[in-house]
Subunit: 80 residues, 2 copies
């Protein structure tokens, strides 16, 4: 039941929310704080929390910075 | 020789140029004009050529619109 609920929630999310969730997931997997990731990605410390909350329509340059900081391929930040 | 040259050029491109090249490649593969793709993706007709030329730091919402219009997954617009 939990898995289908989780999936249902994910499916109804928009791209900003899905992307934010993915960044948060990978950041935690890497054991990084928001501050540490923002630092590594060279983005503003106050910007990252709003990205993770799905509030930001980020640009591909920010996407690339986050992928590099998380040491993943850009395509791996988008999975459907 | 041509392949390595092509690869060398691609490697030196920034994310905007790589993304633009990918959109152009997929659009042509689908036999779509720029006008037709812009229409399908619901983006301005004059915006698409600048994206394909690598001049635009597009947002993830535009990325999603283009992926849907080209009938590919978002992750397939980014391949390294």
């Amino acid at each position: 039941m939990f898995y289908s609920l989780h999936f249902a929630i994910f499916v109804n999310m928009d791209i900003k929310q899905k992307f934010g969730l993915k960044i948060k997931e990978l950041r935690k997997l890497k054991g990084l704080s928001q501050e540490k990731l923002a630092n590594l990605a060279e983005i503003d410390r106050t910007y990252l929390p709003t990205i993770e909350k799905g509030e930001r329509n980020v640009s591909i340059e920010v996407v690339e910075k986050l992928a590099n900081a998380l040491e993943v391929k850009i395509r791996d930040l988008f999975d459907e």
